[in-house]
C-alpha cells in the first residue's frame, strides 16, 4: 500500500533527483577545479616564469585608479622583462581589508587609506618594521585632501568649515569608527578648529560636537555616504576625499553638484607597501616592488592625477595645477603627532568621538 501511495509521484522525483545529482556533482567538480586553479598563479621562481600574478589589496576609492594603472604597469613590465603580469584587485573598507590581510589574504602589495591600517598589518608580523620609510614621501605616492561637495548653486552658502556648524545645515559624513575616509574628515575638521581657536583643544571639541550634531546619517562607508547625499538627497554638504568628490561629479552629474574648497584642510596621505611575508613566500618581491615604484614615475603620477589624486611629482603637478586648487594643508604628523596617537585620542573606545555621543 505504501508503495502505491507514493509510487506515481515518486518516480518523477527519483528521475529529478538523479538529474540533480549529476548536476550537483558536475558543479562540485567544476568548483573544485577552479579552486585548484586559483593557487597556480605567482609561483616561486619568478624570473623563469612567463607570467606572474600580483594581488593588490586596496580600499574603496582607488578602484578606477588601479584599473587604469594596472594596465599601464603590465605593458611597462612586459617591455622591461618580457614577463606578463596580471594584477588582481581587491577593494573594500580600508580597515576591513587590513584585517583580511592580517588573517591570511595573500596580498603582495597593500594600498590602503591610512598608515594606521598598514601599521596593524605590520603589528601582526606580515611586514618588516619601518615600512613607511622604504618608499619616498612616507610611502604615499599620491595624496588627497578633504573638500566639501554641495548641491548646485550652493543654496546654503557653505564656504568654509565654520559654516558646517551653523544651525539648519545638514552635514553628511560616514562613521569614523567604520570608515577610514571619515577619519580624515574628522581630523580635517579638528585641525581647522584648532587653527581657528589658537590651539584650544576644548574649543576644538566643542566645534566637533556641534559639527556632528548636524549629521543626520552616519553611513558605514565613504561611498555609502556619497550615495546617501546624491541619490537620497539627504544633507546640504558632503565631506569627502577630493578624488571622491571629483568622481562623484563625473559619475553622478556635474549639473547637480559642485565642489567647495575650504580655507584649510588636511593632507591625506594614502600609503602603499609591499607585504614582506607574502612576497617572500610567493617569490614576487621584485615585481611587487617595481609595481609600487612605478607609481612614482611620470606615467604613474599622471594616471593618479587623471583619477583626481594629487601627484607628488612637481612636473605632473604643474600640468594638473588647474585641477587641484591651492588649499592650505596640514599633515597628521604636524597636528596630531601621527596616526597611532590620533587613533588613540579620537577614535579608540571612549575617545573624543565616543564622548560626543555619550548620553548626558
Amino acid at each position: 500500500m505504501a508503495e502505491r501511495q507514493g509510487s506515481i509521484g515518486w518516480q518523477a522525483w527519483r528521475r529529478i533527483g538523479r538529474k540533480a545529482g549529476v548536476v550537483v556533482l558536475t558543479a562540485a567538480l567544476a568548483a573544485g577545479l577552479t579552486a585548484c586553479g586559483t593557487d597556480t598563479g605567482g609561483g616561486t621562481a619568478e624570473g623563469a616564469k612567463k607570467s606572474v600574478e600580483l594581488l593588490n589589496v586596496s580600499y574603496d576609492p582607488t578602484r578606477e585608479l588601479y584599473a587604469a594603472y594596472n594596465q599601464a604597469f603590465a605593458s611597462y613590465w612586459k617591455e622591461k622583462t618580457g614577463q606578463n603580469v596580471t594584477v588582481q584587485q581587491s577593494h573594500g573598507g580600508s580597515g576591513t581589508q587590513a584585517r583580511s590581510v592580517i588573517d591570511g589574504l595573500e596580498a603582495d602589495v597593500v594600498t590602503l587609506a591610512l598608515a594606521y591600517d598598514i601599521d596593524a598589518i605590520q603589528g601582526a608580523g606580515q611586514l618588516a618594521q619601518g615600512w613607511q620609510s622604504k618608499l619616498k614621501d612616507n610611502s604615499s605616492p599620491y595624496t588627497s585632501t578633504i573638500v566639501f561637495l554641495v548641491r548646485k548653486g550652493n543654496p546654503k552658502g557653505i564656504r568654509d568649515w565654520n559654516d558646517l556648524v551653523k544651525p539648519g545645515v545638514s552635514v553628511v559624513t560616514p562613521n569614523p569608527k567604520t570608515s577610514g575616509g571619515a577619519r580624515w574628515n574628522y581630523l580635517a575638521a579638528w585641525g581647522y578648529a584648532l587653527k581657528a581657536n589658537g590651539n584650544d583643544e576644548a574649543k576644538a571639541k566643542q566645534f566637533i560636537e556641534a559639527l556632528f550634531k548636524n549629521v543626520p546619517v552616519l553611513d558605514s562607508g565613504a561611498r555609502g555616504a556619497t550615495t546617501t547625499f546624491t541619490e537620497r538627497s539627504i544633507g546640504d554638504v558632503l565631506l569627502a576625499w577630493e578624488n571622491e568628490a571629483y568622481l562623484a561629479l563625473k559619475e553622478l552629474g556635474a549639473d547637480k553638484l559642485e565642489i567647495v574648497n575650504p580655507s584649510v584642510s588636511i593632507l591625506a596621505e594614502p600609503p602603499v607597501a609591499v607585504v614582506d611575508k607574502v612576497v617572500d613566500k610567493r617569490g614576487t618581491r621584485e615585481v611587487a616592488q617595481a609595481y609600487l615604484e612605478y607609481l612614482y614615475t611620470e606615467e604613474g603620477q599622471t594616471i593618479a592625477a587623471q583619477n583626481y589624486y594629487r601627484p607628488r611629482l612637481a612636473s605632473v603637478a604643474d600640468k594638473f595645477a588647474k585641477q587641484f586648487p591651492k588649499i592650505e594643508l596640514f599633515t597628521i604628523d604636524e597636528v596630531f603627532g601621527g596616526w597611532a596617537k590620533a587613533q588613540k585620542t579620537h577614535f579608540a573606545e571612549n575617545g573624543v568621538f565616543d564622548q560626543i555621543y555619550k548620553p548626558k
Binding site: 507514493g6 506515481i8 518523477a12 562540485a28 568548483a31 594581488l55
Partner: protein, 306 residues
C-alpha cells in the same frame, strides 16, 4: 491522519461552501495580503528592476555578460551546488531523528539548529577566520601544508553552509511533527526496511516541505552577502560571489549594472520556483481522482490491519 498528497490547488478546488469564508471576507483577506506584499515585496522588487533597466536592455545584458559578472555567477552556482545538498542531507536526517524518536535534550538540539539564523552574518564569517585565519587555531597547520580555506572557495562554502544550515531541517520538522509517525510504524510492522519506509512512506508526505526547504536554502545560499563578504577577500574574478559583485558595482556608481546583477538573483529564485510549479503540475496530472480513492481504500485497509 492521512496526508492527501494532492497539489494544493486541487485540494482547495474541492473546498465545500461551508468550509469557506463568505465572499466579502475572502476579498478583504486577499486584499490585505496583496497590499502587504505590495508594500513590503513588490515595490522594492519593482525598484530593483526599474533601476536595472534604467539604461536600457543593452546595458543590462552587457553588465551580466562581463567577465567579472560571469566569474561571479559561476562561483555562486558552484557554492550553492556544494552547500545545498549537504544541508539537505542534514535537514532530512535531523528531522527524522527529532520527529520519529523521543530523546533527552531534544529542545536543546532544536535550539542549536536554529542558532545560525540568529548569528549576525558578520560573526558567521568571523568564526571561520578565527578558526582558519593565519592567526586562527588551525592557521599555522594550514599554512604549513599550503592549504587555503579562508579567502578561497572552501571558506565561502563553509560560511554559506553555516548561514543556510537550519533551512531544510526547520522546514521539515513542524511538518513531520504534524504528520506523526503512525504510517511509518505501520509500514515497519508490515516488514518494510528503514530506507524503504523513508522513501515510500515519509518522503511522499513531506515532499512539498522538503522542496520549499531546498528552494529557501538555495535562494539564501546564492544571496548571502554578509558572511561571505568576511571570508571572501573580494578578489575580482576569483572570490567574488554574485552578491559581492553587486556591491562592487554599486560602489563604482554603476547603479544600473549593480541592480542588473541583483535582478539576476531574483530571476534565479524565480526559476527554482518555476521548477517547483512544474513538479507540482506533473504530479497533479498523474494523481487523478481514481488513484486518490484507491489510496483512501488502502489506508482504510491499513487501519483495519492495525
Amino acid at each position: 491522519m492521512a496526508s492527501i498528497a494532492l497539489g494544493p490547488a486541487a485540494e482547495s478546488r474541492e473546498t465545500p461552501a461551508h468550509l469557506n469564508e463568505p465572499a466579502w471576507v475572502r476579498v478583504l483577506l486577499i486584499g490585505l495580503a496583496v497590499l502587504f506584499l505590495t508594500l513590503i515585496l513588490l515595490v522594492p522588487l519593482a525598484a530593483v528592476f526599474a533601476e536595472a533597466f534604467k539604461k536600457g536592455a543593452a546595458v543590462y545584458l552587457q553588465s551580466l555578460t562581463s567577465k567579472d559578472a560571469l566569474a561571479a555567477i559561476r562561483l555562486t552556482l558552484a557554492v550553492a551546488a556544494i552547500a545545498v545538498p549537504l544541508n539537505v542531507l542534514f535537514g532530512v536526517s535531523a528531522a527524522w531523528a527529532v520527529t520519529k524518536f523521543r530523546f533527552r535534550g531534544k529542545q536543546l538540539f532544536l535550539t542549536l539548529t536554529d542558532l545560525p539564523f540568529a548569528v549576525s552574518p558578520v560573526i558567521a564569517g568571523l568564526v571561520f577566520i578565527l578558526l582558519f585565519g593565519s592567526r586562527g587555531w588551525l592557521g599555522p597547520f594550514l599554512a604549513e601544508h599550503d592549504l587555503k580555506i579562508v579567502f578561497a572557495l572552501p571558506g565561502i562554502v563553509l560560511s554559506t553552509l553555516f548561514v543556510t544550515f537550519p533551512f531544510v531541517a526547520r522546514e521539515l520538522i513542524p511538518l513531520m511533527e504534524a504528520q506523526g509517525k503512525d504510517e511509518e510504524e505501520a509500514a515497519v510492522s508490515l516488514g518494510a526496511g528503514g530506507w524503504r519506509v523513508f522513501f515510500r512512506v515519509t518522503l511522499p508526505g513531506i515532499k512539498w516541505g522538503l522542496l520549499y526547504g531546498i528552494i529557501l536554502c538555495n535562494a539564501r545560499a546564492m544571496g548571502e552577502f554578509g558572511a561571505v563578504s568576511v571570508v571572501s577577500g573580494h578578489i575580482r574574478g576569483r572570490t567574488n560571489t554574485l552578491p559581492l559583485h553587486v556591491e562592487i558595482l554599486y560602489n563604482e556608481y554603476q547603479f544600473a549594472a549593480a541592480f542588473a546583477a541583483a535582478s539576476l538573483l531574483v530571476l534565479l529564485a524565480l526559476v527554482t520556483l518555476a521548477v517547483k510549479s512544474f513538479v507540482e503540475w506533473r504530479h497533479r496530472r498523474h494523481a487523478d481522482a481514481l488513484a486518490a480513492r484507491e489510496r483512501q481504500g488502502a489506508l482504510r485497509e491499513e487501519a483495519a490491519w492495525r
